[in-house]
Symmetry: C2
C-alpha cells in the first residue's frame, strides 16, 4: 500500500483527467471526488475506481461532449437528462439543485436519467447536510443480485442514502441493498477471510460465507433476505419512473456496461421551518441515547453512521491517503500513454 | 379461527367504537381501517389489534377530545401536531394532505408529531398510489431493538413504506427495520415453529432461530445486521427532526406506552410531469423482468411487494375475514361492559 499526500493525489488525478481530455474545471472537481472518497475512508469507491473511470471516458461510456439538460419541472420537482456525462458531477449538480429548490419549496426532488456511476453515494448526502438540508437519495445499477427466491440476477443492489444535518456532525447512512458489496467480497478473498455472515450462494445453491464461492456464482444475498429484495425493486421503479429513465431491466439490456443510470435526489429544508437549537437538542439527545447503549462484550463498536468520517480523513491527511500500488501503477501508465 | 363476513365485521367494530365514545364519522373510518387491514391479509395489524386500540382509548393513550393542528408550513412541506389522536386517522389525513400538496408542488412532505400507532403502514402507501402518487413514509416506535453491537433496545423497528402507483396494481413495500416483527415471533411460538433465519439473540447472547428465546431477551435482530440498525436510527432522526416531535428516545422515556410518535409522509406527483403511457410501459417492463426470474427449486415464490393483496382480499371477501376467537370474544366482552 502506498500513502500519497492528499494534495499530491489531487494533482496527479487532475493531470490524468486532463490528459484524458477532461477540461480543467471538471478535472478539478472530479479529482476531488476520487481523492476525497479515499481520504474519507471509502476506498472501494475512491482512487481504486479511477483507472476504470478513465477507461469509461476512453470508451465513450462516460461522455465529455454533453451537458445535463432539464427536461421537465413542477414546483419543487425537476427532471434532468444527464446525457451520459460524468456521474459524480451530475450527482453533485443535481443534489445542489435540490438543495436550492428546497429553500423555497421546503422539500424538493431532482431526478436524473441517463447518468453514469456516481461512485460513493454518501458524498451527496454529506453535501446536502453541509448545506443544512436532510436528504434521501438513491440510484439504480445494472442487474447484479437475484430477487428473493430467484437464481439469476435481475435486481440491482441500488444504494440508498439518508442524511440528517447536525451541528455536531451529520448522520449519513449509505447502504446498498445487498448484504455485502462485490468490492467487500473481493477484499475478503484477497485477505483470505470468510465473511462474518452469509453473503450469497455457492454452486450448490446453499447460503455461504465463502466470498470466493459467491464471486463464482454472482449470486449475492439481499440485505435482510426478502426485505432487501423488495426495497431494491421499489427503489428501481421510483428511480426509473421519476426520471422517465432506465430501470435496472433497461440498464442491463442496454449494450453499454452499466450506463444510463437513473438517480433521485430529495432535499428537505426542515431547518427553514423549525427552531434550530431545539432541533439540535432533539437530535443530540437521540444520538446520545444510542451511543450510551450497553455494548455486547467483544461485539461491534456502537457508532452512528458517518461518525468516523472526520477522524479517518484527519488520519489520512496526516499519514497520506492509502492507494494500492497496482492502482497507482495504472495511473502512471495512463500518463505515459502516447 | 372465525370467518366473519366483511360487512358484519365493519358494523361490529363500528358499534364497538361508538360504545367507546368515538363519534359516528370517525367510528366509520376507523372500523374500515381495522377490518380492511385483516381483509387484505395483514392480520398482525388488523382486527387482532382492535381490543388494544379500545384499551388505548379507555386509558386516554389515544385521545378523542383533540383534532390535529397545523403548526408550520413552507412550500410543499407542512408540520402537524396530531395531539395524541387516533393514529390511523391522523396518518390517513396526513397522507391525503401530502397528496393534495404534491398536485401543485410536485413533491410534498407532511410530518406529524404526537401521533399514535398507525397500525398497518402499507395502507397509507396504497392510499397515495390510488391517488396516482408515489410515496415514501415512515414512523418511529418505542425502543424495541438493540443497535448493532448493543445489548439493550435503544432503536425502534421503525417501518418504512415505498409505494409506486401502476395501472396493473401498485408496488408497495412495507417493511420494519427488524428482521422479524414481534407479531411474527408470537405466531411462530403458537405454531411451535422455528424461524427460517436468525431473528435475534438468546440469553447467552448467541444468534438464534428460536422465537421463544428471542421473546425472552427482547433482543430482536436488525434486518441486514448493521444495515437495519443504521437505517432505523436515520429514519428516527428524520421523523423527529422533520416534525419537531419525539424521537425513539423521547417516546421510550415518556410515561405513556408508545405514545406521541413522529411520522413522515412524502408524496411525489411524477405522473403530473411525465407521459402516463410511457411511465406505465417502463414500470411494467421492470416488473415483468423481475417476475420472469429463474426460480430457485423449492424456493420462495417470486413476487413483487403488494402483489397478493387483491387476491387475498377477494378470497377473504368470499369466505369471510379470519378473526381469532380470542379477539372476537374480547370485542363481545367490550360490548357488554356497563
Amino acid at each position: 500500500m502506498l500513502y500519497i499526500p492528499f494534495d499530491d493525489l489531487v494533482r496527479t488525478l487532475e493531470a490524468a483527467l486532463e490528459k484524458a481530455g477532461v477540461d480543467a474545471s471538471r478535472a478539478a472537481r472530479l479529482s476531488d471526488v476520487f481523492a476525497r472518497n479515499s481520504l474519507e475512508g471509502v476506498y472501494s469507491h475512491g482512487v481504486n475506481r479511477f483507472p476504470r473511470f478513465l477507461f469509461c471516458i476512453r470508451e465513450g461510456i462516460v461522455r465529455l461532449d454533453t451537458t445535463p439538460e432539464r427536461v421537465a419541472s413542477l414546483g419543487g420537482m425537476e427532471v434532468w437528462d444527464g446525457r451520459f456525462g460524468p456521474g459524480p458531477l451530475i450527482a453533485e449538480d443535481a443534489m445542489a439543485r435540490a438543495v436550492e429548490l428546497s429553500r423555497t419549496h421546503g422539500i424538493a426532488c431532482v431526478s436524473v436519467r441517463n447518468s453514469s456511476h456516481w461512485m460513493r453515494a454518501g458524498r451527496y448526502g454529506r453535501q446536502a447536510a453541509q448545506a443544512g438540508m436532510a436528504a434521501i437519495l438513491f440510484t439504480n445499477t445494472t442487474a447484479n443480485m437475484p430477487a428473493w427466491g430467484a437464481e439469476d440476477p435481475r435486481l440491482g443492489n441500488n444504494p440508498i442514502v439518508l442524511a440528517v444535518p447536525r451541528s455536531k456532525g451529520p448522520v449519513v447512512v449509505d447502504t446498498a441493498m445487498s448484504q455485502f458489496a462485490y468490492g467487500k467480497l473481493e477484499v475478503a478473498v484477497q485477505n483470505g477471510q470468510m465473511l462474518p455472515f452469509d453473503g450469497g450462494y455457492d454452486e450448490e445453491g446453499r447460503l455461504t460465507r465463502d466470498p470466493k464461492a459467491i464471486l463464482k456464482t454472482r449470486r449475492i444475498l439481499p440485505a435482510g433476505y426478502w426485505k432487501g429484495s423488495a426495497m431494491s425493486l421499489a427503489l428501481d421503479l421510483l428511480a426509473g419512473a421519476l426520471s422517465m429513465g432506465r430501470t435496472v431491466c433497461a440498464v442491463t439490456r442496454a449494450p453499454e456496461d452499466e450506463a444510463g443510470l437513473s438517480q433521485v435526489f430529495i432535499a428537505i429544508n426542515f431547518r427553514g421551518l423549525l427552531p434550530a437549537e431545539q432541533v439540535d437538542r432533539l437530535l443530540d439527545e437521540a444520538v446520545e441515547f444510542l451511543l450510551s447503549s450497553k455494548p455486547v462484550p467483544g461485539g461491534a463498536p456502537i457508532r452512528y453512521p458517518g461518525q468516523d468520517v472526520e477522524r479517518t480523513a484527519a488520519r489520512n491527511l496526516e499519514r497520506g491517503v492509502p492507494v494500492a500500488e497496482e492502482t497507482w501503477e495504472k495511473i502512471q501508465a495512463h500518463m505515459q500513454r502516447p
